[in-house]
């Protein structure tokens, strides 16, 4: 069982959270649940409603679409990030390759947090703005 601080250590490496001060990241850590998945378990399927983001703590998760592997998420890799920001359905299926441990951030909890913690919103917007700027420039 991870402490909040340990969850922060993992979450600080998530691209979209990179500009959030650690102290505020602790609030995200507090809503992040540890979940485990035995080998072969489907975490979500293509076309499912996007409702959470995952970070691999241990093990590996295979992301595939129509039988074609897109990537294998290893420890500290993140998948399903954009579920936090839009209502689009999942575009890949995520299946646990081995016994895996994941950190799961629920979209509703995250949005709730955003409305109360301006520094989190500011941090996320900074990252998105930087991405947009890179795309344009």
């Amino acid at each position: 069982m991870l402490t909040t601080v340990e969850k922060v250590i993992f979450l600080q490496d998530v691209d979209v959270f990179a500009k959030i001060p650690l102290e505020d990241l602790a609030y995200i850590a507090m809503i992040a649940d540890e979940v485990s998945a035995e080998a072969g378990r489907v975490i979500y399927s293509e076309g499912d409603v996007s409702d959470s983001m995952y970070l691999v703590l241990d093990g590996s998760i295979r992301l595939h679409r129509g039988g074609v592997e897109v990537m294998v998420a290893k420890p500290r890799d993140v998948f399903g990030t954009w579920a936090l920001f839009d209502n689009e359905t999942r575009i890949v299926t995520a299946t646990s390759v081995e016994e895996s441990s994941l950190l799961r951030v629920d979209k509703e909890d995250f949005l709730d947090l955003l409305s109360d913690h301006s520094k989190i919103t500011e941090g996320v917007l900074k990252v998105l703005a930087a991405k947009l700027r890179n795309l344009v420039g």
Binding site: T3, T4, I9, P21, L22, A26, D116
Partner: protein, 918 residues
């Protein structure tokens, strides 16, 4: 820079009359058109050469080289003239040289200014520097006028090279003191930008916008007419004056007058004319004045009339016309404007000068160069000029429409109030637009302007599909008795948008002779949506219409609905309408109804009820409102409601802010409420709370004080107390730097996560937390300084200090040097200068006697400090750093009020003392 601009323009105003008088007396006025053509061909070549040189040579060297070349040229010219050398080619070359010299020296001056001042300083100082140029123009002209008869035309050149020699020294000093540091940095930035941009032909860009084409045409015809007037003036002067010294003095005198005229028109008339007549009409002043002047010269062909025409043309061109053109360029997209500006300023200007030369040559061929004939040509061209300005009007309006819909115009970017210079005609034109934003803007401004033509458009606009437009239309129609929208209003009573239903209802009530009966009828309707609209409309009319207020008892009118609310048998629509109505027209007698609505499950209803409660100022609601500050969906309205109570509740709010027993979330909202009340008492109460231990709460207090100070700079804080708080924050900064220095020292030893393990990760986390806290600390220091000094200045200083750009940091340091008292200055400047950690630690030690010598001492300091997050990360690092130590007392933290501290302490204890926990 003032002295530099003064001397450059003074030398230019001396050398210009010299060249003109030499050409006229030695070669005759008939040679002028050839010189104009020569200028058109030669100047662009020099500009290209100069541009090529500027890419290869460093700016300071280029400026020094051109100034030395100019001084040498002037000495050579003086020498040749003094030995009586008056060859044709030499006189022509001298004339063209002066044009190039004028172009390059002024360009170089502004280029240097660009590196000396940042944008903020530029806004403040460019007008001062501009006045230096005007003063130089006046002095140069009068000096020439007064001294040319004594020193002779050639002798006037002594002033020019002496002035330029002084400029050379000034350039060196300016470069070394101000421009050198920023030059390299900006150059690199420009290089980066240049490599990213494609460079399409500027001529192609010119034709991307019709407005730009018109601007170029207006500038071009202005130069042609100006050159013809100059020619006419020169010819008439040379016919009346034969002595070259006398002629030099004459030109100098009139150039001074031109500068003075330009100065007075700029100060006294430009802004007024633009405000009263708008951009297009203002741009017609110059050609119209030329028409009047040319007609005068036609009928009274005297040198005085020609001189008056020349002064009038020059004076208006440099002031009103220049400002008008600046405004005409306003809706042109910034990117396009920046690219075509050089083209218009240099290429179009030269082409037009050449064209003027060609026109004069053609006139000479047909022997059409008498004063009257030339005046007729000037007259005719000015008529075309007016026509071009007239035609530009439609494109200006279109470009404005586009810029407004793209929100490309920022009023603060321009030197004149944009809307006062936009004519009502333009706004009336916008009423035909299909763009909602444009329509709403036009309706809003025309309503404020009270333009009577607006009424005739309302009937058509009442069919518009936008609810925003419909609301505006009914609002305007309520005070326009001549407009009848009754039929449309009845049809809008069933509109899908509640705001439109309310607007239509209010319009019908306002027009009705039996208001009470009409509203009662609506309130009794079977359509709940209409009843809701009638409730809100009744409240709005009750507040805004005295006649309605006199005839209606709102409590009676709402009686049935209040009963429904109090017995909890109301629908959402009615609850919402009642809450909104009572927030508009609060009725203390209906407090029970407000209380019920305030506790509604619907956030919208409760938010309106909160506003209503606040407006009644009934103290019975205060506790309920404060409790609801916890609810994030209602917080905004609750804050507003509490602020309505004003000073009577400020002591209560302050006590809550300082009470540790009260929920953090409620305390967090209090500073904002106090800032909204905004009185001096609130300011003092908040400043009394600056000592709050909780850093986040303290930050909220500082923010609230900043908001209040920005709104009202007359608010005063106890200076000594504030100084103490600032010093405490500065000391805290140095404390943190000291801890960071120790932790970073250990971090560097371990190098990698693989060698350092979990301890490495924990230390890295603490380092990031400390750096973030330092950033927050610095922000708090500058926010506090903003309570003592100008908030704007301190904000800019903060941005400068935290910027990566060295010029911005240097400006910020300079500002701090000027503003702060010596003690605080010496403590803050090292931070602003980004001194090394070691230097800061040493400085902090000497200043505050700090003694954090090791990481362990630093961790202990953090564990005993006020910051829960630093406490947590320190605790976490200690867990790995000293796993075997049993001497740590974890009990304090196990029962800590902060959840994360508590959780971390429990886990640390589990690891260090597993048997105890078990």
């Amino acid at each position: 820079m003032f002295a530099y601009s003064f001397l450059v323009i003074a030398s230019l105003t001396i050398v210009k009359p010299v060249r003109t008088s030499l050409l006229l007396t030695k070669q005759g006025p008939e040679t002028l058109p050839y010189v104009f053509l020569l200028i058109a061909f030669v100047t662009p070549l020099f500009v290209v050469l100069y541009n090529m040189a500027s890419k290869r040579i460093r700016l300071n060297r280029l400026i020094a080289a051109t100034t030395i070349a100019s001084i040498s040229s002037l000495l050579l010219i003086w020498f040749l003239l003094s030995i009586g050398y008056h060859a044709v080619w030499f006189i022509y070359a001298f004339y063209v040289w002066v044009t190039i010299y004028g172009l390059i020296t002024t360009t170089q001056f502004w280029l240097l200014a660009n590196y000396v001042f940042n944008a903020r300083e530029a806004k403040r100082l460019f007008s001062v520097i501009g006045s230096g140029a005007i003063a130089g123009g006046i002095l140069g002209g009068y000096l020439t006028s007064a001294l040319a008869p004594t020193l002779h035309t050639t002798g006037m050149l002594h002033f020019c090279y002496v002035f330029l020699a002084i400029c050379l020294v000034l350039q060196y000093l300016i470069w070394m003191r101000s421009a050198r540091a920023t030059y390299g940095e900006r150059l690199r930035r420009q290089e980066r930008q240049r490599s990213l941009q494609e460079d399409p032909s500027p001529w192609g860009l010119l034709f991307q916008s019709r407005l730009v084409v018109y601007i170029a045409a207006i500038v071009g015809i202005g130069v042609v007419v100006g050159t013809l007037i100059d020619y006419q003036f020169s010819v008439m002067a040379s016919e009346s004056i034969s002595d070259s010294d006398e002629m030099t003095a004459f030109f100098g005198f009139w150039m001074s007058n031109l500068s003075i005229a330009s100065f007075f028109i700029q100060i006294l008339a430009t802004s007024r004319i633009l405000k009263s007549f708008g951009v297009n009409t203002a741009l017609m002043f110059l050609p119209f004045a030329i028409i009047v002047g040319a007609s005068t010269v036609m009928f009274f062909p005297t040198l005085w009339a020609a001189s008056a025409l020349k002064v009038g043309e020059g004076g208006l061109k440099q002031s009103l016309h220049k400002a008008g053109l600046e405004l005409l360029c306003l809706p042109v997209p910034m990117k396009l404007k920046n690219r075509v500006k050089v083209l218009i300023d240099v290429a179009i200007d030269n082409l037009a000068t050449g064209l003027a030369g060609a026109v004069i040559l053609v006139l000479l061929i047909f022997d059409f160069t008498g004063v009257r004939e030339l005046s007729a040509v000037i007259f005719s061209l000015s008529v075309i000029w007016i026509y071009l300005v007239y035609r530009a009007r439609a494109d200006y309006l279109n470009a404005f429409r586009q810029a407004i819909s793209k929100r490309a115009i920022q009023p603060e970017d321009i030197s004149y109030e944009i809307y006062s210079s936009m004519r009502a005609d333009h706004l009336i034109g916008l009423l035909d637009s299909n763009n909602e934003k444009q329509l709403l803007m036009a309706l809003g401004y025309l309503e404020n302007m009270g333009d009577k033509r607006l009424a005739s458009h309302l009937v058509r606009l009442a069919d518009n599909s936008s609810s925003g437009v419909l609301r505006s239309v009914y609002r305007i129609a309520r005070s326009s008795p001549s407009v009848d929208l009754t039929a449309q209003a009845y049809s809008h009573l069933a509109h899908g948008q509640a705001e439109v239903r309310v607007a239509a209802t209010r319009y019908l009530v306002r027009r009705s002779n039996s208001k009470k009966e009409l509203i009662s009828g609506f309130l009794a309707s079977s359509d709940v949506r209409l009843r809701s609209a009638a409730i809100v409309s009744a409240a709005k009319e009750w507040v805004s219409d005295n006649e309605f207020r006199a005839s209606v008892d709102l409590k009676m009118l709402f009686g049935e609905f209040c009963a429904m609310v109090e017995t909890d048998s109301y629908s959402h629509e009615i609850g919402l309408a009642m809450a909104e109505a009572l927030s508009i027209a609060p009725q203390i007698e209906l407090s029970r109804c407000i209380e019920v609505l305030l506790q509604s499950e619907s956030h919208v209803v409760a938010s309106h009820a909160a506003l209503s409660a606040g407006r009644t100022r009934d103290e019975r609601f205060v506790d309920l409102l404060i409790l609801q500050l916890e609810n994030k969906y209602r917080r905004k309205s609750i804050r507003e409601a509490l602020s309505e109570y004003g000073e009577p509740i400020t002591d209560r709010l302050s006590a809550i802010l300082c009470n540790n027993e009260v929920s953090y979330r409620i305390r967090f909202e209090i500073p904002r409420v106090l800032s909204m009340i905004g009185t001096q008492k609130c300011f003092l109460l908040l400043s009394d709370s600056l000592g709050l231990k909780n850093v986040k709460l303290r930050y909220e207090v500082i923010r609230a004080l900043n908001r209040m100070r920005t709104r009202d700079d007359s608010l005063k804080v106890k200076s000594k107390k504030l100084d103490r708080v600032i010093w405490a924050e500065i000391q805290s900064y140095y404390d943190l730097v000291s801890v960071l220095n120790c932790v970073e020292g250990n971090h560097a030893i371990e190098q990698t996560p693989s060698t350092g393990g979990q301890e490495f990760v924990a230390r890295k986390l603490l380092i990031r937390a400390l750096i973030e806290k330092l950033t927050d600390n610095l922000e708090r220091i500058f926010r506090l300084l903003g309570l003592k000094h100008s908030p704007k200045d301190m904000y800019h200083a903060y941005l400068g200090v935290t910027s990566d750009a060295s010029d911005q940091r240097a400006n910020a340091i300079e500002l701090l040097e000027l503003v702060l008292k010596p003690g605080m200055k010496s403590a803050l400047i090292p931070i602003a200068e980004c001194a090394s950690r070691k230097e800061l630690v040493e400085f902090g030690s000497s200043l505050f006697g700090l003694k954090i010598a090791s990481e362990t001492a630093g961790l202990n300091a953090l564990l005993g400090g006020d910051d829960d997050w630093l406490r947590t990360t320190a605790l976490y690092l200690r867990w790995f750093k000293e796993p075997d130590s049993e001497s740590h007392d974890y009990t304090t933290f196990e029962s800590h009020e902060n959840l994360i501290v508590r959780e971390t302490a429990v886990r640390v204890k589990q690891r260090v003392l597993p048997s105890t926990v078990a």
